[in-house]
Symmetry: C2
Subunit: 377 residues, 2 copies
């Protein structure tokens, strides 16, 4: 009964797909890294296997209406082979390549005329130095493949540092302008194979140490023109790259007013977690609908403001210990824990508050998360 | 990690506990009737066994922080034995007895001074006839134990019918005044063992053939005094009977203005399904919090109106076939299907709409459910 969605990956994103899948009678099957991981705790059909294991991925896709992902780390060759066999892979390997390789992404976005930081593909210290001298130091260097949450990103202050860092050729890297930005934004859209696109309001994301710490939906005081521009960029990218499912476009709002693309993710994204409690249709339900090529749901906010604060690490062995005190003090808090063991800085959960008064929401959401962190407890 | 809640029963109510359990990192374990039933499809830890099987119930409670229920059909002796062994059974067997036996319920509510239809425990045609002659025909006769959704309820028109129906003694039955009512209401509250109580707004329930067909939250045009009275009655019952978890009090709003208790349920209830999409805290999350004796969540509505319409049977072999047309026409509809095979009149799912304009919400929710039913398709 109902469609079958196979998802590669067993972390919190697959875990959070389980609730809307259950509501819609969608059979969710997850290829998980470990039998006791975040997703396997709540999904009965959760075979264990690696995303790079062709046999495991073929097996999880068998009999499914669609194969999708909660991360980008599935080899393109493997996905192209599945498509050849007639499997519906959403997003498809051609689209996903742009979320797997930042040089491929920058090349294509530039072709599409989507504003990006100035960038170059560099293969030597000489090329890097030339790029820095041209656009001005400092610059940013990124490994094209495999980085996430600030990992694989380096700031290079001057030509001497550049010479030191790239003194041995190590394949192409992406060099980028270090953007002076007022703040970071994210534009979240979903697109289905037959073309329909829906977006959520543009959000503000607050990063700490390269990791998303807090999201405010919608982004406060964002001029309507900038919001429209950001959503148009996301739409251009979704259509131009043939993205299906949820697409998150991380953006800089530069000091000079430009809106520039920072990163892409083709899956539900931390910047959209607020939508579980703050939108008629959450990003997780929307992703399932989109990859199944079902009509997309209404993304109207359920409250004026939503604030989501991440729980990054905890002093507690189990953050749920905080429930009696937290729930008594913050009865309106929507707490989400991912069933992950505690490690420093690890994304263990998040708290969302919705309502009318933004400063109060931010303060109370942070306080609730502090209780889960147990700082000073 | 996190607390463990064991629930007896594997239908849609246990199924709908899975989403908030996942969010709160509560390990949910369900004793299910069948390995492919509604709850087992979405709960990894779902041993198969009957609610009347002492061994199965003891096993499902082992290591759990609390044992709770999605129906009332668990023998009291078995539960008392578990309490003796130190298991936290919520609601406890003494409270649950009032949801298991309607004569016990009427006796206790009358002691508490809670308004009920006039009633009598009768054991013979003579007693039944005397009751009908006293309060006026027709009257209602109910089997005290095991009835649900209109089953076990009979209307008796006059003394001749009474003589026919009760011509052989068959144990005590409950005879009641047939209340002339304007409409039916329900008051939903949750109570935790340490005493905290929270309520949702009083709702109107629309029954067809003795089965809940539609719920409107809050009940339209209900005078504030009547709403207060209904919630006070629910609070009196929850405290007087020592109920823990969710308590649903089904009510008549009589033509003469009286608010009278019809039935009780000590678990999440059809009249509260709207709260998944229309309340900050759903009845399913609240039930889990309450039985774990955790502080209760905010029950503020997320919209002015919520309308929930049940899917009772379907012409389709799989109601999810309707998704492409339904989701295109009703992008704002929150569809919930329970993974149950289709049978005439069976509760297969529900649709909730929230918003500002009640007539539009009712019309569109009904239309969406008609698409799932496939009537005329």
């Amino acid at each position: 009964m109902g469609p079958v969605v196979a998802v590669v990956g067993g972390g919190q994103l697959a875990r959070m797909m389980a609730a809307p899948a259950g509501a819609l009678q969608i059979h969710l099957r997850a290829l998980v890294e470990a039998p006791d991981g975040a997703a396997a705790q709540v999904i009965p059909d959760a075979p264990v296997g690696a995303a790079s294991d062709a046999e495991a991925v073929v097996a999880v896709a068998a009999g499914a209406d669609v194969l999708t992902f909660e991360h980008e780390h599935v080899p393109g060759d493997l996905l192209r082979d599945l498509v050849q066999r007639g499997v519906s892979v959403q997003p498809g390997p051609e689209a996903l390549a742009h979320a797997q390789d930042k040089i491929v992404m920058r090349t294509r976005l530039t072709e599409l005329g989507v504003p990006c930081p100035r960038w170059a593909e560099v293969r030597s210290a000489e090329e890097l130095t030339a790029f820095g001298d041209e656009i001005g130091w400092p610059i940013v260097v990124k490994t094209p493949v495999g980085g996430y949450d600030g990992k694989g990103v380096l700031f290079i202050g001057d030509a001497a540092e550049a010479a030191h860092w790239l003194d041995h050729p190590r394949g192409a890297v992406l060099a980028e302008e270090k953007v002076d930005f007022r703040r970071e934004l994210a534009a979240l859209v979903a697109r289905r194979p037959s073309g329909e696109i829906r977006s959520w309001p543009v959000v503000e994301t607050v990063q700490r140490d390269g990791v998303c710490a807090e999201v405010i939906a919608p982004a406060p005081d964002l001029p309507a023109a900038a919001a429209t521009e950001a959503l148009e960029m996301a739409r251009t990218i979704a259509e131009g790259l043939g993205v299906t499912g949820v697409l998150a476009v991380e953006l800089f709002e530069a000091e000079d007013g430009r809106i520039l693309v920072n990163e892409l993710a083709m899956r539900p994204h931390n910047s959209g977690h607020f939508s579980i409690d703050g939108s008629v249709t959450s990003q997780f339900e929307q992703h399932l609908r989109a990859v199944l090529d079902l009509p997309l749901g209404d993304t109207t906010p359920t409250a004026r403001w939503s604030v989501m604060v991440n729980l990054l690490g905890s002093e507690r062995s189990d953050p749920a210990e905080a429930y009696p005190a937290l729930m008594a003090a913050y009865p309106e808090a929507k707490v989400h824990l991912y069933g992950k063991s505690v490690r420093p800085g690890r994304k263990l959960g998040h708290v969302t508050l919705t309502g009318e008064d933004l400063p109060t929401l931010r303060r109370r959401a942070r306080e609730a998360v502090e209780m889960l962190r147990g700082a000073g407890a």
